[in-house]
C-alpha cells in the first residue's frame, strides 16, 4: 500500500504541474504555491496553496484553486478532493465555494458582472502569455541570424521540439481555439493572423514589453515568496542579493 500511496502523491503533484498561474504563465508547482499535498490510503486528496501575499487578486487565486481541483479530480483512484487556499484575505469565500463545487460567482455572490467562470479574464491572459512566449522564440531566432522573412515563413512544425516555449505556444493556441496544425504559421497575432515579415520588428517591440511585464511580475512574486514566506525557489532570471 505504501508504494501505491507514494505514487499517488507524485501523480497529484504531476497533475498540479499542469496548473499555471494565469498572470505569469508558469506552473504553480514551480512557483512554490503548493505548500502541502496529502493523499490518504483511501485516495482522499488534500492540497494546500499559498500565494506570495494575502492580497493577491481573488479572481486569479480562484482560477488556480479551481484548476487544481479539476486536474486532481481527473486522476484515477482519487476520491474526495479538498483544495485549501491558506493565508489569503478572500480564502474563506474561495474555499467554501470550491467545497460546494461552485464557480467564482458562488464565492462572491452579487460581486461579479456575469463572467461567473472567469472565462474572459482567463482568455485575456492566455493571449498575453502567447505573445510573451512567441517573442522569446522570435528573439532567439533573430539572434541566430534569421531574417524577418525567414521567421515569418516558419511553420509550427519548424519550431524546436525541445523548447518549452514552443510546446507551450502550441498548447496556448489550442486553448485559445487558434489553428496550431504543423503547417500553420509559427508566429501569429492573438487574432490568429500570421505576423507579417514587414511588421515583425514592430510587433516584437510590443511583444517584448508584454513578455517583460510577465517576467517582472514573476520576479516580484519570487522575491516576495522569499521575503514573506521564506520560500526560496528556482529563479531563472536573477537572485535576490
Amino acid at each position: 500500500m505504501t508504494a501505491v500511496t507514494a505514487t499517488t502523491t507524485a501523480s497529484v503533484l504531476g497533475a498540479l504541474a499542469e496548473v499555471h498561474d494565469p498572470e505569469l504563465d508558469e506552473p504553480i508547482t514551480r512557483l512554490g504555491f503548493v505548500t502541502s499535498c496529502e493523499v490518504s490510503p483511501g485516495g482522499d486528496v488534500e492540497v494546500v496553496l499559498q500565494l506570495p501575499t494575502p492580497q493577491c487578486a481573488p479572481n486569479f487565486a480562484f482560477l488556480m484553486a479551481a484548476d487544481a481541483r479539476t486536474v486532481v479530480r481527473r486522476l484515477p483512484g482519487v476520491r474526495a478532493v479538498t483544495i485549501r487556499l491558506e493565508d489569503h484575505y478572500t480564502g474563506a469565500e474561495i474555499n467554501a465555494a470550491l467545497g460546494r463545487g461552485e464557480g467564482f460567482a458562488g464565492a462572491f455572490p452579487d460581486e461579479t458582472g456575469g463572467d461567473d467562470d472567469l472565462e474572459a479574464l482567463r482568455e485575456l491572459f492566455l493571449r498575453k502569455a502567447l505573445v510573451a512566449r512567441e517573442s522569446r522564440l522570435c528573439e532567439a531566432l533573430l539572434a541566430d541570424g534569421d531574417s524577418p522573412e525567414e521567421i515569418a515563413a516558419r511553420r509550427v512544425a519548424d519550431l524546436p521540439d525541445d523548447a518549452p516555449d514552443a510546446r507551450r505556444c502550441i498548447e496556448l493556441r489550442r486553448r485559445l481555439g487558434l489553428n496550431h496544425d504543423p503547417g500553420s504559421p509559427a508566429f501569429v497575432l492573438p487574432s490568429g493572423e500570421p505576423v507579417p515579415a514587414s511588421g515583425l520588428r514592430r510587433w516584437l517591440r510590443t511583444a517584448r514589453l508584454v513578455r517583460m511585464s510577465l517576467e517582472v511580475n514573476g520576479g516580484i512574486c519570487r522575491s516576495l515568496l522569499r521575503v514573506h514566506r521564506g520560500v526560496a525557489i528556482d529563479d531563472p532570471e536573477e537572485v535576490l542579493r
Binding site: T53, P54, A57, L124, R202, L209
Partner: protein, 349 residues
C-alpha cells in the same frame, strides 16, 4: 538637494506616506485584513537593501522623528508629496489620512504637500468632504485607490459616471493632479482589477487634469505603457519600480526603465520613494549612480543622461505641483525635449 560628481539635483519625492497601522488602530473584527495589509507592505520593504529593513513593530507606526531623519536629514529630499490612503474599513482612524499627513506637513510648509483623496461611492457626503479638505489642506492633488473596500463593495473604476462628478469637482477646486493607484480588487470582481483602461478614459475626457499612475501600473506595465504613449496627460509614478526592483532585480530594473523611457519618456516620469515602504536615501543615491548598461541586451533602450535624471528626480514633479526650483538647480538650457525618434514607430504600431 543632492550632489554627486559635481552635478546638483533638486529632489522631489512625489509619493510618500505617514501611516498608522499599529494594532491599536485596527477595526474590531477586521484585524486579519489590517494585519495582512501591513505585513504585505512590510514584505515589500524586504526587497530593499538589508541594512534599510525595519522590524515590523516600527514599520507599523513610525514616528515624526523617524520621518524627519529618513526624509530630510538622510534622504536628500527637497520637497515631498504626502499621499492619503484611508482604508477606514480596516483602520479605525484611517491608515494614512490627510489629517495625519498634515500633522507633519504644517511644520514644514515650504517642503511638504498634502494630497487628499476621494471615493465616488461616498456620494454627496464625499463631495462635501473633498471641498472641505481642499480648503483646509490647499489641495493640488489627490490619490485615488480603486481597490478600497467600502460597505460591501470591493472597488470602483475611474470610468464610473460617479467618478466623473468627483473629477469635475477637482477641477472646480483647483486640484489638478490625480494619482491613481490600482489594487487587487475592483467591482465587478470577475474583471482584471489592475487594468488601467479606466485611467485612459478619464485622461481623455479630462485633458486639464494630470493622471499619475502609481507604480507605473504594475503588474500591468504593458497596458500602462501602451496607454501613456497616447495620452499627453498621463505620467509614470516610479514608486515600487526603484524601491522594489533596483536592488532586488537589477536586470529587470534596467529593462523596466528602458521600456518606460522608450514608451513614456523622461519628461513624464516621477520619482517616488513610497516611504515608509522604503527609505529615500538609498533610492536617490542608487538612481543617480545607475546607468543603462552598454551591452547588446539593452542596446535598443534610450540611455538616460544627467539631464534625464534631473527631470525624473524632481523637475518634472516640481512643474506639476508648482514647486519653486532654485535657479542654479534648473536645467541650464531650459531643458531640451526628450528624444522622440521612436514616436513614429509607436504611433503606427
Amino acid at each position: 538637494m543632492y550632489e554627486k560628481d559635481g552635478e546638483q539635483y533638486f529632489v522631489v519625492d512625489a509619493h510618500q506616506h505617514f501611516w498608522d497601522a499599529s494594532p491599536a488602530n485596527w477595526v474590531k473584527g477586521q484585524e486579519q485584513y489590517a494585519k495582512g495589509w501591513i505585513e504585505c507592505f512590510h514584505a515589500y520593504m524586504g526587497l530593499g537593501p538589508p541594512e534599510t529593513h525595519w522590524p515590523l513593530e516600527k514599520f507599523m507606526k513610525y514616528s515624526e522623528d523617524d520621518y524627519v531623519h529618513d526624509v530630510f536629514e538622510e534622504g536628500h529630499i527637497d520637497a515631498a508629496v504626502l499621499q492619503s490612503t484611508y482604508l477606514k474599513e480596516w483602520y479605525t482612524d484611517g491608515f494614512n489620512t490627510a489629517e495625519r499627513n498634515a500633522r507633519i506637513a504644517e511644520k514644514y510648509p515650504d517642503k511638504l504637500i498634502v494630497n487628499g483623496r476621494f471615493d465616488p461611492r461616498e456620494g454627496e457626503a464625499g463631495l462635501k468632504q473633498l471641498e472641505e479638505d481642499a480648503k483646509r489642506y490647499n489641495l493640488k492633488g489627490v490619490k485615488v485607490y480603486t481597490a478600497e473596500w467600502y460597505k460591501g463593495s470591493r472597488g470602483w473604476t475611474l470610468k464610473d459616471p460617479e467618478a466623473q462628478i468627483f473629477l469635475d469637482k477637482c477641477k472646480e477646486l483647483g486640484i489638478k493632479n490625480i494619482h491613481a493607484h490600482k489594487g487587487p480588487t475592483i467591482w465587478p470582481l470577475d474583471k482584471d482589477a489592475f487594468d488601467v483602461k479606466d485611467i485612459d478614459v478619464a485622461a481623455t475626457s479630462n485633458p486639464e487634469l494630470n493622471f499619475i499612475v502609481e507604480h507605473v501600473g504594475l503588474p500591468r506595465i504593458e497596458d500602462f505603457c501602451f496607454m501613456a504613449t497616447q495620452e499627453p496627460n498621463v505620467y509614470a509614478g516610479l514608486a515600487v519600480v526603484i524601491g522594489g526592483l533596483m536592488h532586488a532585480r537589477p536586470r529587470f530594473f534596467n529593462k523596466v526603465m528602458g521600456e518606460l523611457l522608450f514608451w513614456v519618456g523622461e519628461d513624464k516620469m516621477l520619482f517616488g520613494s513610497d516611504y515608509g515602504i522604503w527609505e529615500p536615501k538609498w533610492q536617490v543615491e542608487g538612481f543617480i549612480d545607475w546607468k543603462m548598461p552598454d551591452t547588446e541586451e539593452y542596446s535598443d533602450y534610450p540611455h538616460p543622461t544627467t539631464e534625464s535624471k534631473k527631470k525624473i528626480m524632481g523637475l518634472n514633479a516640481a512643474k506639476l505641483y508648482d514647486i519653486e526650483v532654485p535657479a542654479e538647480l534648473q536645467l541650464q538650457n531650459g531643458g531640451a525635449p526628450a528624444a522622440k525618434e521612436d514616436a513614429q514607430l509607436v504611433e503606427s504600431a
